[in-house]
């Protein structure tokens, strides 16, 4: 246990005032403290981030971390989990990061049901590069790279995840903190690939606070093990400019997770190599 070492590091926080990242940081801190109390020591937790405003979160925690590349949290996290299945690996990614640059990894991670948790800080805009559209920006969104507005519909990432085989799919909102905490905790403890799409506002480039506050509602989370039901819930909101927007765990099921359990290797490696060489003689 790391009793005495504060969970939040002394690193100066540079998120904009009002940023949704604070709520995610708060919820994750709450969950880690809870897990520590329940006997999961902090050193068994590894945080992995991409690149973007969200990613600074790993600097702000006194927890093992791998600050990786834009779009590449998932393969790093998968490698860590494969190397040591006893670690709890939590990825933080942005929507541009995860759903644009790194979408292939997301689809494959869900397909292989790798036992990691992905938290997407989905503010539907690029913050750090100053306001361009992302895969979840609504039709017509005007940004600095698309001053005339985009002529593409947003990607319904919930449907992408369900179609890819994710076994835990949820949506949360940074201004519904109790739900956010509960979902993150359940995602971390889910044995398999868990994805939490967190709607958050970008205080500087895309502030949807009023819209979200008005449109979000928490589902009753009944029938969450039924795929068809999850698809219907996921289909209710297409990341468009009108709601309503369901929040909660949409789908949760158990299927064999990755990596498979391996027996510890006890033989002498050098001897094994010599055996292979002699076999080819």
């Amino acid at each position: 246990m790391n009793q005495g070492i504060p969970l939040v590091s002394g690193t100066k926080n540079t998120w904009c005032p009002g940023c949704g990242n604070f709520a995610i940081q708060h919820a994750v801190r709450f969950v880690i403290e809870e897990l520590e109390r329940e006997g999961i020591p902090r050193e068994r937790i590894v945080l992995v981030s991409g690149i973007g405003c969200h990613a600074k979160i790993v600097d702000y925690f006194q927890v093992n971390s791998f600050y990786s590349l834009h779009g590449r949290t998932i393969p790093v996290a998968t490698g860590i989990k494969m190397a040591n299945p006893d670690l709890y690996v939590i990825c933080f990614a942005g929507d541009g990061d995860l759903y644009a640059e790194g979408l292939d990894h997301l689809v494959h991670a869900a397909k292989r049901n790798v036992d990691i948790t992905v938290i997407c800080h989905n503010n539907r805009v690029y913050g750090l590069t100053t306001g361009q559209y992302t895969p979840t920006s609504p039709y017509g969104y005007k940004g600095r790279s698309t001053p005339q507005g985009i002529h593409e519909s947003p990607l319904n990432v919930i449907e992408v995840l369900l179609g890819s085989g994710a076994t835990f799919v949820a949506r949360a909102y940074s201004r519904r903190l109790p739900l956010l905490r509960r979902i993150i905790r359940e995602a971390v403890l889910h044995p398999g690939f868990a994805h939490v799409d967190v709607l958050q506002i970008c205080a500087t480039f895309y502030n949807l606070t009023a819209f979200y506050d008005e449109q979000v509602y928490e589902t009753t989370e009944t029938n969450v093990s039924q795929f068809d039901f999850a698809c219907r819930t996921g289909h209710l909101w297409q990341y468009a400019e009108k709601g309503p927007i369901p929040l909660g765990i949409f789908y949760r099921t158990i299927r064999p997770s990755f990596p498979e359990k391996k027996e510890p290797f006890t033989k002498d490696r050098a001897l094994a190599v010599k055996e292979i060489i002699s076999r080819y003689s």
């Binding site: 020591p41 971390s65 590449r72 989990k81 990894h105 290797f265 094994a272």
Partner: protein
């Protein structure tokens, strides 16, 4: 070596020394030509010969012309010769294309059901059908017939077939024996005795080295000509306790590898040029975050898709400079099985000791060439890693720039790695002073690495040690060069380590040289750039860039014009 006086008339051209035998096996893709070659090579190996096999095949699955050359000799060889002593023809093209290569008294062993030729006919259907075999067993039949022609008793062939053939060994042995009985002996290959040498592809020798070096994991996406390494390690993963994984892309490959390494597992990846292009962003991550990763790159003819199944030495400068920013790396290019084994193990050691990307630079010729090697490879000796101090800082500053490495979970300590410029603990910084501290730390690490590798053993020398004319080459071409230069007064200098470049050792090896000839399989002569950096200006640059390695005679003729 092998031909008795009794059958001397079957021997080869004057140029061919009586100490070796070259067999060319040709047919259509799908005939299992390479497997036939390996079976034949294995028999030669069991007779005590050094064997080298070259396989030439187009990038397709069925049809097309495939051939391989199996060369057996009394000494180690890593190149093929133009002259062929025995052609095994599964199709007519083999005869049409290659019969001109027959040595004066060479002969053709052919499937008389499909091929018209002068030589030794064998009806494969006539052997296989009565025994209710399948077409692919024609390989076994030809192997049996070949060694009868070469005068090898059946008792010396059967154990090899039994060991090598997994599917229906009994039926194969019947078929091989029937073919052996159908032809007559025309030559007499000497049985050199001994217990036989291990016979592996270059990729496999590299893989054995990686295993000996202690890798815990190998991650790769299939790409010719590196896939053989993936297949080999996947095949032995269980018995060696390593994890082998094939993810969605080369981008995922190198990032997963770095996840493994962060969690304390020694990890290697493998690919060819195109796949390595996808890895370059994360290569730079490994440079910045100081994550030890071993990368095997097997070159093929480029640019772009190029000739997928043919060779090149055209990615040296790319690999030397790949990745944004500046960071140290280690590049080694083996040319023999022993070097592949040793450098494979050394790559793991260097990567972890210096926390840098360590490259094994191979090419199609070496990766897919099959070689007998020393059965008693020496166990590699790894550098001890320095112990961390506490409270732990992943990027602690040290005199040699190497920060002790720890992996999670480590009780009471936080382990952070970072792609951003970072402080000692691994927290992002934009501070100019810390930026310089970390850059200087990596620079001292590069110097420490250079100090370690700049030694005689990083440069392979051959030929006449006092020769005033020197051929400089690297990687797989060294085998051709060494043989092609035999009998001349030429010195051969071949850097085994290409980055950091062992300049002092190189200058020592070049002392007294007046004329430099470079041999390389590229369009531009990439090592010339490195030589110029070291103050050497080549006089002649012999290049080849049609994707084919040179036969000894071909290179010898070209060298003859410039030496």
């Amino acid at each position: 070596m092998f031909i008795t006086d009794r059958v001397r008339y079957h021997l080869l051209t004057e140029a061919d020394i009586v100490t070796e035998c070259s067999v060319l096996i040709g047919g259509k893709a799908g005939d299992g030509i390479s497997q036939a070659g390996q079976l034949i090579g294995s028999v030669f190996a069991s007779l005590g010969y050094h064997v080298y096999q070259y396989t030439d095949y187009p990038s397709l699955i069925r049809g097309g012309h495939n051939y391989c050359i199996v060369r057996a000799a009394e000494r180690p060889v890593t190149a093929y010769r133009s002259g062929i002593d025995l052609i095994i023809a599964f199709d007519q093209q083999t005869v049409d294309i290659h019969s001109r290569r027959l040595t004066d008294r060479g002969t053709i062993l052919y499937d008389s059901d499909r091929v018209k030729a002068t030589g030794i006919p064998l009806s494969l259907a006539g052997i296989i059908n009565p025994l209710e075999g399948v077409q692919i067993m024609g390989n076994t039949a030809m192997t049996g017939a070949l060694f009868r022609v070469l005068g090898i008793p059946w008792e010396r062939i059967e154990p090899v077939l039994r060991r090598k053939i997994r599917a229906q060994p009994e039926k194969n042995i019947q078929i091989g024996n029937a073919a052996w009985n159908q032809v007559s002996s025309q030559m007499e290959v000497q049985d050199l005795g001994g217990s036989g040498r291990p016979f592996f592809s270059g990729n496999e020798w590299i893989g054995l080295g990686l295993l000996a070096g202690g890798i815990d994991a190998y991650i790769a996406y299939p790409m010719t000509p590196a896939s053989g390494l993936l297949h080999f390690l996947a095949g032995v993963a269980e018995e060696t306790g390593i994890t082998v994984y094939h993810p969605e892309s080369e981008i995922a490959v190198i990032l997963m590898a770095q996840g493994f390494v962060y969690a304390g597992k020694k990890t290697a990846v493998g690919t060819s040029g195109g796949g390595f292009c996808l890895m370059t962003e994360a290569l730079s991550l490994a440079g910045q975050a100081e994550i030890p990763v071993v990368i095997v790159v097997s070159q093929r003819t480029g640019p772009s898709t190029g000739l997928p199944t043919y060779t090149a030495q055209s990615d040296l400068l790319f690999i030397r400079h790949a990745g944004q920013g500046e960071f140290p790396r280690w590049i080694a290019a083996p040319a023999t099985p022993e070097e592949a084994y040793r450098l494979g193990a050394r790559a793991v050691d260097i990567a972890w000791k210096y926390q840098v990307p360590a490259f094994i630079l191979s090419d199609k010729s070496f990766s897919e060439g099959i070689f007998t090697g020393d059965p008693d490879m020496q166990d590699p000796v790894a550098h001890p890693l320095s112990a961390p101090s506490f409270p732990y800082q992943r990027y602690a500053d040290t005199p040699d720039g190497i920060s002790p490495i720890l992996s999670p979970p480590y009780t009471g300590e936080v382990i952070k790695v970072n792609s951003y410029t970072h402080d000692y603990q691994g927290i992002t910084t934009e501070d100019p002073d810390m930026t310089v501290v970390m850059a200087d730390k990596r620079k001292r690490k590069a110097q420490a690495l250079l100090n370690y590798i700049d030694r005689d053993e990083s440069i392979i020398t051959g030929g006449n040690p006092d020769g005033k004319t020197c051929i400089v080459c690297w990687g797989s071409v060294r085998g051709q060069v060494t043989e092609a230069a035999e009998g001349s007064e030429v010195r051969i200098v071949s850097p085994l380590i290409l980055e950091p470049f062992p300049g002092d050792a190189f200058r020592k090896a070049m002392r007294g040289v007046e004329r430099i000839v470079v041999v390389e399989e590229s369009v531009s002569g990439q090592i010339v750039t490195i030589l110029r950096e070291q103050g050497f200006i080549p006089d002649e640059v012999l290049l080849r860039y049609d994707g084919r390695p040179s036969a000894v005679e071909e290179l010898s003729a070209r060298l003859g014009r410039v030496l």
